[in-house]
């Protein structure tokens, strides 16, 4: 289906062990900001098409986990393997050295991300927001990129806003554009960073609706950092509870959210449900 983002990687950065064909593997990842150790050794495999919800108190490192996969944050130690390729390191003269910008670009092409604050490009129309990257990054021809962008915007219910600028849209509409913009790149893994947190309560529903539709289509793996427990229960295959920089509990949503073992998780859920 996708002729795009064909990653050529002649350097043999094939991962040593590849657990059950995971599309993304975190291997003993730690991350410190100054003296503060936010993540204290994360091991995590995400399978193709798997929907994973990351929950946990603020400061538990949920967002940092997905930001490292998008290359917006560099791990302090450990490795992240994406589709068999080492993300933050590359092989050079038989040694693993820190990745260059070029290497990062080759590996992260299969990852897409939607942000809490949308981060739409304010100087471009909605349509331009969507079609710019396929044209310039994936070298798709303009007509086809435009066609796909329009289809995607129609899918998220914004087919009548193509020539509007982001400033003319509501928060919920902006977030739907942001999703369309990420989706036209046809990522294999899509990251959602608290995408409803900045929205007015009455606009949350329309955004979750779109995510639910995307999730139903299947083929793409999704990692959602979220505070919407009901939503996580509804669409996730697996829920991961992060606490104090480690994975404190994980499993199917019915188990983790309805019948948790971890005491901290029980407290956390209790606070949430009031």
């Amino acid at each position: 289906m996708s002729e795009t983002s064909v990653v050529t990687n002649e350097s043999a950065t094939e991962s040593t062990t590849n657990n059950e064909d995971a599309i993304v593997s975190y291997k003993n990842i730690t991350k410190s900001f100054g003296d503060v150790e936010v993540l204290k050794g994360i091991d995590l495999d995400i399978k193709p098409a798997e929907k994973v919800a990351l929950i946990g108190p603020s400061g538990s490192g949920k967002t940092t986990i997905i930001r490292m996969l998008m290359t917006l944050e560099q791990p302090t130690s450990g490795e992240i393997i994406v589709d068999g390729k080492n993300l933050w390191h590359m092989e050079k003269n038989g040694e693993l050295v820190p990745a260059t910008e070029k290497h990062l670009r080759e590996v992260r092409g299969d990852i897409g991300m939607v942000f809490q604050h949308f981060n739409l490009f304010p100087h471009m129309t909605i349509l331009e927001n969507c079609m710019t990257a396929p044209i310039h990054v994936q070298k798709e021809d303009k007509a086809s990129a435009k066609k796909r962008s329009i289809e995607m915007l129609e899918k998220v219910g914004l087919g009548d806003k193509l020539d509007n600028y982001p400033s003319q849209l509501s928060g919920g509409q902006k977030q739907r554009v942001a999703m369309a913009r990420a989706l036209v790149m046809r990522p294999k893994v899509m990251l959602f960073d608290e995408v409803t947190s900045a929205l007015d309560p009455e606009l949350v529903g329309e955004v979750l609706e779109v995510i639910r539709d995307i999730a139903k289509e299947g083929e793409m793996a999704m990692v959602l950092v979220t505070h919407e427990m009901e939503f996580a229960l509804d669409i996730a295959d697996r829920v991961i509870f992060l606490d104090n920089g480690v994975i404190a509990e994980q499993g199917p949503p019915s188990k983790v959210l309805e019948n948790p073992d971890n005491e901290r998780l029980q407290q956390f859920l209790h606070r949430f449900r009031g």
Partner: protein, 248 residues
């Protein structure tokens, strides 16, 4: 034309500044017809210096602005030195250095007073405006960098497609102000013998001292008329820049 300060029969307006005849100045409307064509001869030179300075000055601003954002510390410090030297010294002294001092010191010919003037103005304003370029690029929201990284753009694509178009919008209002300032500083080239508007005015005054008020009034009017389109342009740019910027 109006000796001893008597109201001229031909002119409509006489302003007396001083009781003493020797320093009496007048603005004589009848003389405008003589002065106007003489000043017009200077307009071409003023405009030529202005346009060349605009092109070179803005180029300098972008080059220096980008250099100050470079990862290369040598490039960064060298550009920083240039900016501070040109911001910290007077334009007229820089002009004299370029036109008189440097050619003598290093025994070269700068070619013409035109290029000396243009170079001094563009290096000086380029230094100021490079700070605008740098500041505007830095003030584009971090989320814009992150979104373009998430779309897997190269560093160059991020700058060209996302950051710079927004940064330029922030630069425009300031750029407009400097445009008007540049027009006004072109009058300095009269000091290195270029025949611009002010030079033509000085010539007329030398020929007839009592005309000085009329001459300089008209010189003011000339500069103001030339500034009008630039003021209009600045307002347009301000309006344009209000749209489409994400800042933190």
């Amino acid at each position: 034309m109006t000796p001893k300060g008597q109201a001229p029969s031909t002119g409509g307006l006489t302003l007396s500044f001083n009781e003493s005849n020797k320093y009496k100045g007048v603005i004589t409307i009848s003389a405008i017809a003589d002065i106007f064509p003489a000043l017009i001869q200077g307009v071409e030179v003023t405009l030529k210096v202005l346009f060349a300075s605009i092109i070179l000055g803005y180029s300098m601003a972008f080059i220096a602005g980008f250099c100050r954002l470079s990862n290369n510390i040598i490039l960064r410090s060298f550009t920083g030195f240039y900016v501070e030297v040109f911001r910290g010294t007077s334009l007229i002294v820089q002009l004299f250095w370029l036109f008189y001092a440097l050619p003598m010191l290093f025994n070269f010919d700068i070619g013409s007073n035109f290029w000396a003037g243009v170079l001094a103005i563009s290096l000086n304003y380029g230094a100021y405006m490079s700070e605008i370029v740098r500041g505007s690029i830095l003030s584009v929201a971090k989320g814009q960098h992150e979104a373009s990284t998430a779309l897997n753009m190269t560093r160059f694509q991020r700058m060209r497609l996302v950051i710079l178009p927004q940064a330029v919008r922030m630069m425009l209002p300031e750029f407009g102000n400097y445009l008007i300032l540049m027009l006004k500083s072109t009058s300095l080239v009269s000091l290195i013998g270029m025949h611009d508007i002010l030079y033509q005015g000085d010539l007329l005054r030398d020929a007839n001292l009592s005309q000085a008020p009329t001459v300089y009034l008209l010189v003011l009017v000339f500069y103001f008329l030339m500034a009008l389109p630039l003021i209009w342009l600045t307002k347009k740019m301000e309006a344009f820049s209000k749209k489409g910027v994400a800042t933190q």
